[in-house]
């Protein structure tokens, strides 16, 4: 009896422990989330499962209201619009992506995982061996926005303003009621443009080069994501900031820069003037020239200035598809000895001054000796001031 009980206990314990140690049922760490998208957009669903051994992941799809008929998705399905990337490590992670959505892509997407060794056995009910997580994707018709064409600003004539430019967006074919619309320039919202109109326009009065950029009209919806259309306003670059001249001593570092406005962002080149024709600054054979370009800003750094080759006129050139602009900076290099001349001048004048004053003062001495010999006392006693002497110090003491 006792040995039977003991054996039973061992078997049960072993079974439990065996299951615990050797296998673990699959479980979801991260499930796919439902989304609403517009036609033409892209979406991705994530699925993360844990289990021992690492579970296998599959993606299944059922059309809307057809929850009974799921079909499996594979990488490259739907004319290569579907992509499935799966990685099996300690966890199993899978990403389902569908591009260029159409209205027919709406439906329920299911992430299925299982590490059961009998999962693919046709005699098994998959509902028992696979775990599932679902997400609903709704694809809405993207509203059609009629946007005006791109504008190109003419070069600004001096003393005249450019004629105003109007950018227009019309919202047509929108199944959803829209809430409001606003404008953005280069990714940032333009203040005071929020309105609740279907047809919205943005007027640029007296447009200048810094008004150029990528403008977007954005429509917001109650139950759908924002829709936008972009209009480009292009202009030739205008150079707004540059250093007209730079004076440095030899061996120091010089910095020349140019800033511009205009769209699209220009390509920068730096050149150095040699007589009447220009000369490309490829002089980095000495390794002392460094050019840094950032969108509308360009910098030319010269280290360890050389007084014989570096001084001169440098031209920065900004070119984009519409036009180009140049501006010039002068670089001067002062030699180490330059301050010497004024200093010698000052020294010379001081020496001359000292000589003159010594000569002058010494020359006056002999003339004054007779005065000094005269006793100071008698002169004063002739006046009525004698009794006031105590109030008055002698000033002719030598």
């Amino acid at each position: 009896m006792r040995s039977c009980a003991k054996m039973l206990a061992v078997v049960v314990l072993g079974n439990v422990m065996l299951q615990y140690v050797s296998s673990q049922n699959a479980g979801f760490v991260k499930s796919p989330m439902s989304e609403t998208k517009l036609t033409g957009d892209t979406f991705e669903l994530y699925c993360d499962v844990v289990g021992n051994p690492t579970p296998e992941i599959q993606w299944w799809y059922a059309e809307v209201n057809r929850a009974d008929s799921f079909k499996q998705l594979w990488d490259g399905a739907r004319k290569r619009r579907v992509s499935i990337n799966t990685a099996y490590g300690t966890n199993g992670v899978s990403v389902l992506g569908i591009t260029r959505l159409t209205l027919e892509d709406s439906g329920t997407y299911e992430c299925r995982a299982s590490n059961d060794p009998r999962r693919n056995d046709l005699r098994q009910n998959p509902a028992l061996t696979w775990i599932r997580a679902q997400a609903t994707i709704s694809v809405l018709q993207k509203p059609k926005i009629n946007a005006s064409d791109q504008e190109i600003l003419p070069p600004k004539k001096p003393q005249e303003d450019n004629p105003p430019i109007t950018l227009q967006c019309n919202l047509t074919n929108s199944p959803n009621t829209h809430r409001e619309s606003f404008w953005m320039k280069n990714g940032e919202e333009i203040p005071n443009t929020r309105k609740g109109l279907k047809n919205t326009e943005l007027i640029l009065s007296k447009p200048r080069a810094d008004d150029a950029g990528e403008y977007m009209c954005v429509y917001t919806f109650d139950m759908a994501p924002n829709a936008n259309a972009s209009i480009e306003v292009k202009a030739a670059p205008e150079i707004t900031g540059h250093k007209r001249s730079e004076n440095k001593k030899e061996g120091e570092n010089a910095l020349l820069y140019c800033k511009s406005v205009g769209y699209p962002h220009p390509i920068w080149t730096w050149r150095k003037k040699v007589s009447q024709g220009s000369y490309i600054d490829v002089d980095n054979s000495t390794g002392r020239f460094f050019i840094t370009n950032k969108d509308n800003y360009s910098e030319l750094n010269i280290i360890n200035l050389d007084i014989s080759t570096d001084p001169g006129e440098y031209i920065c050139n900004a070119t984009n598809i519409i036009g180009y602009k140049e501006s010039m900076s002068i670089l001067r290099v002062r030699s180490h000895l330059a301050p010497l001349w004024p200093f010698l001048g000052v020294l010379a004048e001081i020496i001359i001054l000292v000589v003159i004053i010594v000569v002058y003062e010494k020359r006056k001495r002999p003339d004054e000796v007779p005065d000094d010999d005269e006793p100071a006392g008698p002169v004063k006693t002739n006046s009525t001031n004698n009794h006031k002497d105590k109030n008055l110090r002698q000033r002719n003491t030598n």
Binding site: I330, P342, V346, I356, Y360, K362, E374, V379, T384, N391
Partner: protein, 414 residues
């Protein structure tokens, strides 16, 4: 009491009181704007200029306090000093009983302000309430004028140069910098007017000068000091480190000259050397007669040298400047500065030829033009019977300023 025509001191009048009040106002305005500006520099992280500004203020304050302290010491040894302090509410300082307090106040850099307050308080008592002590009030005013002169040249003139340099360096200026420049300019202008008034107060009535002489004095000083200040600033803007060497060399040469001229202003050797050092600093910006007798030669030497120095500094600035950033004003300055200096010299010459009282006839004594310094002072004291206190320091300067320029041979015994 203007009993005799030979000019006892004029009474302390409302004008003196007004000058004292305005003087202290300009002084406080100057100090206030400088402190504010220093704080601004500190907040903007411009520590070097903060240090320079503070340095000027502290050095000038220390020098002025030292002079004030020396003079208190000397005055306490004058015989009729007790007469002054016997007046009831005469002084807030200087009485022998309060030496320690006065010394402490001077160390705290408050001595100058204390003198101002004393002068105003005493002046108020004398003028408004008609109390006695008019001579002492005038005495205080003269000392104040001297101290103001020293303080202005030690602080306001270098600060003005510094402000102009900073403005040139940055090519723009904040409002507080403009305010500070105006404060410094006002301070210098005020000092000139005040000092000349003190000088004139020593003159006898007969050769009393009108406002014309003050105007001339003011004009030529303006025309001579402004180019120096501006040139120093311009030179600093191209060669910042060399201005210190320039100043040092010139200052040493001037101290040497003061020593060779054998000045005898203070009563102790230490004071005398302090005086010579200060004179060297003053001469960096403006000429100042410190020796008696014929000073025309010295004046000519100085002005010629100053003109050459301006030429050298301007030339260095022109050669080493940045033509583009200074384009708007460089030509204008190149011509204006030397022209202004030459014009100032012309006005000065005109003044000395026409307005200057070259002949002082001491009452009843010699025929020889009162050329000796003693004579000038004797003039002022000649007929008063009451022991009057003459500010001998101011008197010395007066005689240096107003002494004649006649031939040296007439100095001998008359």
């Amino acid at each position: 009491m203007e009993s005799t025509a030979s000019g006892c001191f004029p009474r302390y009048s409302w004008l003196d009181f007004l000058f004292a009040v305005v003087g202290v106002c300009t002084f406080l305005f100057d100090i206030g704007s400088d402190v504010w500006l220093a704080k601004e520099f500190y907040q903007h992280g411009e520590f070097f200029w903060f240090a320079a500004l503070l340095g000027f203020m502290l050095v000038s304050s220390a020098v002025v306090q030292m002079f004030s302290w020396f003079w208190i010491q000397y005055d306490s040894q004058l015989d009729n000093y007790d007469f002054q302090t016997a007046g009831r509410r005469v002084v807030l300082f200087g009485s022998p009983k309060r030496v320690k307090l006065t010394c402490f106040l001077h160390i705290c850099q408050l001595g100058f302000l204390l003198r101002h307050i004393s002068a105003i308080w005493l002046g108020f008592c004398v003028w408004w309430r008609g109390e006695k002590g008019s001579e002492y009030a005038v005495y205080l005013t003269h000392d104040l004028s001297m101290l103001r002169l020293i303080e202005t040249f030690c602080e306001s003139a270098p600060q003005l140069s510094l402000m102009i340099y900073i403005m040139l360096h940055n090519n723009e200026a904040r409002t507080i910098q403009y305010v500070s420049m105006i404060a410094s300019t006002t301070s210098i202008a005020w000092m000139v007017v005040d000092y000349h008034r003190s000088l004139r107060s020593f003159l006898p009535d007969k050769s009393k000068q009108g406002w014309l002489s003050s105007a001339f004095y003011f004009l030529w000083n303006l025309l001579l000091i402004a180019p120096r200040v501006v040139t120093v600033a311009l030179f600093t803007s191209v060669l910042p480190r060399y201005i210190a060497a320039h100043f040092l060399c010139l200052w040493l040469a001037f101290v040497l000259w003061a020593w060779l001229q054998d000045t005898n202003f203070m009563d102790t050797p230490a004071g005398e050397w302090l005086y010579r050092a200060t004179i060297g600093l003053i001469w960096y910006f403006s000429w100042f007669n410190v020796a008696e007798g014929k000073t025309r030669g010295r004046s000519i030497i100085y002005h010629f040298f100053a003109l050459t120095d301006i030429g050298v500094l301007l030339f260095s600035w022109w050669w080493l400047r940045d033509p583009e950033t200074t384009q708007s004003y460089s030509l204008f300055i190149l011509f204006l500065v030397p022209l202004s200096y030459v014009l100032g010299l012309l006005v000065k010459t005109l003044y000395y030829c026409s307005c200057h009282p070259t002949l002082w006839q001491p009452v009843g004594s010699r025929k020889v033009p009162g050329d000796t310094p003693d004579g000038a002072v004797a003039l002022v004291q000649a007929d008063s019977s009451a022991p009057e206190v003459v500010n001998k320091r101011m008197a010395k300067h007066v005689s240096n300023f107003y002494s004649t320029r006649t031939l040296p041979k007439t100095e001998t015994n008359g």
